[in-house]
């Protein structure tokens, strides 16, 4: 097994891409995690089962990862409980307002050459770069 982190990153990325292609080819759906979960929170008739199945797949994948190598999954997160809760709220609300997250806009949207997704990715990457710069290098690296 190759163990270079960058090679594994590429291989993992190809697996993610393959998973997204599978969902498109089989179910005709975009593999955007926030869209899939968000849609399940406001279910329409006949539209809930595949969403729950995808989420179940994610959770089951996590369980497999835990068995294979428990250090793959995070234990403690940086920052206080308040920071974590605020970050979660922002990620959830922002992804729905912006029509997608790293998977929907990043993987599928960029893959479909969507101008909306390119704008979204450039925006959230830039804001995240600035946020990390501020928290780590300006505010004194509390995280």
């Amino acid at each position: 097994m190759a163990s270079s982190p960058l090679l594994l990153a590429l291989l993992g990325g190809l697996m993610i891409g393959a998973a997204a292609v599978l969902l498109l080819a089989g179910a005709g759906r975009i593999a955007g995690v926030s869209g899939i979960v968000g849609g399940a929170l406001r279910p329409r008739a006949g539209d809930l089962a595949w969403r729950l199945a995808f989420v179940l797949g994610l959770l089951a994948g996590g369980a497999v990862l835990r068995v294979l190598s428990s250090e793959t999954l995070p234990k403690d997160l940086p920052g206080s409980g308040l920071t974590i809760a605020l970050a979660g709220l922002l990620v959830g609300f922002g992804a729905r307002l912006g029509g997608g997250c790293t998977s929907g806009h990043g993987v599928c949207g960029l893959g479909r050459r969507s101008p909306r997704s390119l704008a979204a990715v450039l925006t959230f990457m830039t804001v995240a770069f600035v946020t990390v710069f501020l928290t780590r290098h300006v505010l004194g690296g509390a995280s």
Binding site: L6, L8, A9, G12, G13, L14, M15, I16, G17, A18, A19, L22, A25, G26, R29, V33, G38, L41, A49, W50, F54, G61, G62, V64, L65, R66, S70, P74, K75, D76, L77, G79, T83, A85, L86, A87, G88, L89, L90, G92, F93, G94, R96, G98, G99, C101, T102, H105, L110, G111, R116, T123, F124, M125, T126, V127, A128, F129, T131, R136
Partner: protein, 138 residues
């Protein structure tokens, strides 16, 4: 049958995230920290995933319909508008604060971390909040 496809897709998606190291927030933050010990891994993950999708999706769409469903459900909007940019900015702020986005957060739940459960609960609350402020459903 779409349920089985979705289950398998979610599973492979999660394993890909884990293999790529993206289930660990510190690896994500290492990519986002341009002024620190910058780690390009996330770019390879996104490039590999979006690159494969870019090659394969047109072939899939050329068939006209999915294998197990009546039709494709693709985003119809094409205009870059204010909610897209505002939403992406809020998302980027939250992502940068702890290094977690929805996929890795859900996958990571299996690790049993209380911090992660808190993040996911808040994320679901944020998504639910959106359904309340969005145009009221019929």
């Amino acid at each position: 049958m779409t349920v089985l496809v979705a289950l398998l897709s979610g599973l492979v998606f999660a394993l890909g995230l884990g293999l790529a190291g993206m289930t660990r927030p510190e690896n994500v933050l290492a990519f986002l920290d341009l002024a620190g010990a910058w780690d390009p891994a996330l770019m390879l993950v996104l490039g590999g995933a979006a690159g494969l999708y870019m090659l394969a999706a047109p072939l899939v769409l050329r068939r006209g319909r999915p294998l197990l469903a009546p039709r494709f459900h693709l985003p119809q909007r094409s205009r870059v508008d204010r909610s897209l940019l505002a939403g992406a900015a809020l998302f980027g702020l939250g992502w940068g604060l702890v290094g977690l986005c929805p996929g890795p957060a859900l996958v990571g739940l299996a690790g049993g971390s209380g911090d992660l459960a808190l993040f996911v609960a808040a994320m679901l609350a944020g998504m639910f909040l959106f359904t309340r402020v969005e145009a009221p459903s019929p």
